[in-house]
Structures are given as C-alpha cells and as structure tokens.
Amino acid sequence: MTPTLFLLALFDGIAYAALVFIVALGLTLIFGVMRILNIAHGSLYAIGAYATVSLSGWALALGLAPILAFPLMLVSAVLVGLLLGGPIEWLLLRRIYDKPEVLQLLVTFAVFMILEDVQRLVWGTRPYFEATALQVLGNVTVLGVTYTVYQLILLPAVAAALLLGMRFFLRHTIIGKLILATTEDREAAQSIGIDADKVFLFTFIVGAALAGLGGALASPTTSILPGMGADMIVLSFAVVATAGLGQIEGAALTALMIGLGRSFAVYVWPEAATLVPYAIMVAVLSVRPQGLFGSPSARKI
C-alpha cells in the first residue's frame, strides 16, 4: 500500500464514519431513551437523501444559488423528523411501549416495509445523482492527496459538532435533563410532573431528523437508489451494537473503527469490504456481548 493510497483510504474512512455516526446517533438516542430499536430508521435516512435531491434539484431549476443546497439539507432533515418521525411515534409507537420487545421490533419493521414502498412510489427506482453541494465547496490537497472539502472537512465537522452538541444538550439544558430523567425512570419522572409522552415524542422527532440529516448529507456523495435504507439500518445497528446500545460517545468511536475498517478493505480486498463492519461487530460482541461501552443489564427474576 503506497502512502497515497493509505491517505485516500484514511480520508474515505473518516468521511464514511462521519455519515454513519450521524445516522447511528439518532438510532442510539431513540433506543437509549425509548428502549425501542427503530428499524424504520434506515428508511428515514433514505427519504432524507431523496428529499434533499428533490429540493435542491427544484431550487437549481428555479435558478437559485447552488450554495442553497446546504440549508435545504437541514430543511429535509427537519421535514423527515416532523412529517414522518412525529406521526410514527404519535400514532404507532405510543401504543406499544408496554408490549414485548419482539412486538415492538415487528411494528417498526412493518413501518420500514411501508416506507420502502413509499420511496419507490414517490421517487421511482432509477438512481439519482446530485453532487452540487460537493462541487460548491471544491477540493483541498493534503500531503499530496486531493480530496473534496465536503467529505474531508464538512462531514467530520458536522459529526463532531453533533456529538458535542448532543452531550451539551443532554447534560446542560433543561430539556436534555428532562430526557435523561425520563430515561432513568419513567414513572418517577412522571410523578414529579414530567410529561413523558412529550419527551418521547420530542426524542423520536430528533432521532428521525438525525436519520434524515444523515441521508441529506450523504446524498451528494453517493447515488441514491432503492435499498440504501436497508443497508444503512444494518450498518448503523452494527455501529450502535458494537458500542453498546444507547452509548453516544461510544458510537462515535465504533463508527470510526467500522468506517476505517471498511475503507481500508476497499483498497486491500474489495470483495470483502461490505463484510468488514459485521466482522468487527461479531468480533467485539463475542468478547463483550453488551458492546464496548455498554454495561451488563441487571437480571430480572
């Protein structure tokens, strides 16, 4: 492996890890607070990407400045959170918090199936490419390797900002503390006047918006086509499970591990690239079943 290839793989891995982390952050936040693994998270990611492509395509057709692609990504993410995340929690998940885990999984799986078809109905099956945002920012040369600013600087910066922002939000703001209190003990939180329903709804909307944001940010770097949601839910689950469900900082580290592992595999043994994330997950879970940073749960008798 030449130094150039090494740097390329490193940059690929960092860019990829940043994207996966943003999606996994939403997944692990929802799980941490609500104890529900949202399989439809992958669809929300895909819809975020599709929405961004449609919105920025529309803006470009109107002759607006290409730089508008960035605020439109945020708009798509918020739309995904409010228009999809809100109703999913409010209409469906709210009914099943006291049901067995298997049922909750089946419900989010059903939502996943529905949303996969919604994508195909709305956007068809042909792949979309929309790299305006990537071109606007141009390239940067680091140690002789030219890479896009978007992937090398913007994506990791957004991921780091979200990580720090989420930490600050949960620990130092009132709403964040309400969320942590509800996570710790829902009944006790309710007894001191916290509206747990609202906390759950808010958390789910934020989590869904993060999935949408991941998709929006991914859209300039990849072709958008049916099936991307299924890949992403399994991958982000691998990240979240390797870290330990509900572990936010841990997810950042495992996203980096998995992202780098995958990108180096692309250069060394391309056929196996898709297997690397799972190999890492299986290896970690064989030694630490609760994940790298998870603590073993108390046994109920």
């Binding site: 693994l37 399989i39 469906l92 009914r95 099943i96 049901k99 067995p100 885990e101 298997v102 049922l103 999984l105 089946l106 419900v107 799986f109 059903a110 939502v111 996943f112 199936m113 529905i114 996969e116 078809d117 919604v118 195909r120 109905l121 299924a230 890949d231 399994v234 689950f237 691998a238 499970a241 469900l245 056929e271 196996a272 898709t274 297997l275 799972y278 997950m281 299986v282 879970l285 064989s286 079943p289 046994r299 109920k300 008798i301």
Partner: protein, 333 residues
Amino acid sequence: MTHATELGQARPTGPGRGLSMAGTVLPLAGLGLLALVPLGAPGLQLLVNLALAKGLAVAGVSVLLRAGQVSFGHALYFAVAAYAGAFLMTALPGADLALVLLAGLLGAIVAGVCVGLFVVRYRGIFFGMLNLAFSMIFWSFLEKFYHITGGADGIRLPRPTVLGMTLDRASFELVLFYLTLVLVLSLGWATIRWLASPAGQIFQTLKTNETRLEYLGVSPRRALLWGYLVSAALCGIGGALMGVTQGVVTPEYAWWIRSGEMVFIAVLGGAGSVRGAFVGALIYELVRTYASAYAGDVWQMLLGAFLLVIILFAPRGVIGMIETLAHRGEGRK
C-alpha cells in the same frame, strides 16, 4: 391485552386433548384437499408447491416465535440450503433428488450451528438484528464472489433424477408436489410433537422466564440452540425444495425482504403456530399471485400495513380466528 392473546402464545394443543377439530381434523382435511390440486386445478399446482415450500421455512420462523424470539434473517438458511443443492447438482450432474434435499438440510444445519452458537447468547433486539446481519453478510457474499456463486445471476439447478430415474418435466413436478405434501405433513407433525416434548417445552420457557430455567439446572443457551437448529433445518428443507422447484437459485433467496416475508407470514398465520405457518403461506401466495398484477408497486406497503393491523388488533393471526370458530362450533354440540 390478556396473556392468552399475546403474540406467540398459541393455545395448548397437547396430545392430552385427543382429536380436536382445529388441531387435527382440519389440517388433515386441508392436506387432503391440496392433494387433489394436480387433478382438479393443475394451474395451481406450481403455486401451491412453492407456497408449501415457503411454508416450511415459515414454520421455522414460527418455532422461534414460540420462544419469544424473532429472526429477521432466516432467509439465510433458505438460501444456504438452496445453494448447497445447486452446488451439489453442479458437482454431480444428474444427482438424486433425495441427495439434493439432504445437501440442503446439511448445509442449513452446519450454517445453523455456526451462526447459532453466536446468536443464542442474545435475545430480543440483538437476536433479531444479528440474524439480519448474518443474512446480509451471506447475501453480499453471494453477490460479490461472482466466480463461486455466479453473482446476481445465481446458479441454474438442473432437474435431478428421482430414485435413479430421469423424469420429464411434468412427472417431475408431480413427484415434487406430492413429496412436498408428504414433507409438510411429516415435518409439520414432527415439529408439533417436538414443541410438545420436554425439550420443546423447555425451549418455550425461554419466552416466559429464562432465569427459572437456569435454577432448574437447564442451560437456556443450549435449549435455544436446539430450537434454532430445528428452525434452521425447516428453513433449509423449504429452501432446497424451492430451489429444485424453480430450477434456479439467486442471491435474492437471502435478501432481507425474504426474511421479512417469512416473519410476516408467520405472524399472519398465527404467531408461533406450526399449522398457521402453512395456512398463512398458502393465503399469502394466492393473494400475492392475483394481487401483484394490480398492486405490484405497493405490495410491501400493503404487507406492512397488514402486519400492523394484525399485531395491533388480531395478534393470534388466521389460525387464532379458525380456532376460535372451531371451539365455538364444538361448544354448541
């Protein structure tokens, strides 16, 4: 919701109850009717054959639901078995049908041991998602390692011989149809018996209270592994039959949509009910064949919506409805 109607909580239909209407007579009558399909409605023969092959795989998923576990990756065993059969036919052209099915079964069991040893350490979310991950791994192996697996085109599976005889297409399909019926009857019966046996009862205790099992000196992991192998074997036979019937195996066999379909049918038929798996598979395939012409684009959406309705409003599925009707009928006598 009371305990009796909870998902996966099938009514006790143990041997002590004798010949029950819903438990024995109806399934046998149904199989008898199906046996007439090649004579009465030859157009449906292939459809019923494929539905029953899928039903065997669904029965495997149902078994796990009895222990309160859902696997989103059981298409893995379906595909492993189908590919094992295809590899055998490539290596030994003109091999016997029994040998193909055995290869499929063996493949599924070997894969079941390898994956099972790992996944039985987990329950609930992890169990479901780790199975999904393994099936995705196998799927990408099938897609990417073109020189071994034929990539997205898959492998053609030429018609095997039957007891040394080379049959023409029509008679081969007829043999396959009745073989599938016999397998459904015998494996379905064996699975129900296994669930009623002490080993099966211990397996089902995983759903209610696993810690008590440990106090009894029983290893929950071993109990789950046995159940997992039963379910993998059922999926394997189903997949091998499917491969032979269709004459070609593709990576689509391992795709998550297949796994999702199996879970869907298991819940539709009656979560945890072996009989329900076959009823569900027949209903599903019939509806799909006729509805997909009109609703091909929204098929999964309909499935998802229907799944939500069943989970929220009719958690015991079709078999639950049949049993309720049958019990009402018996009560009136």
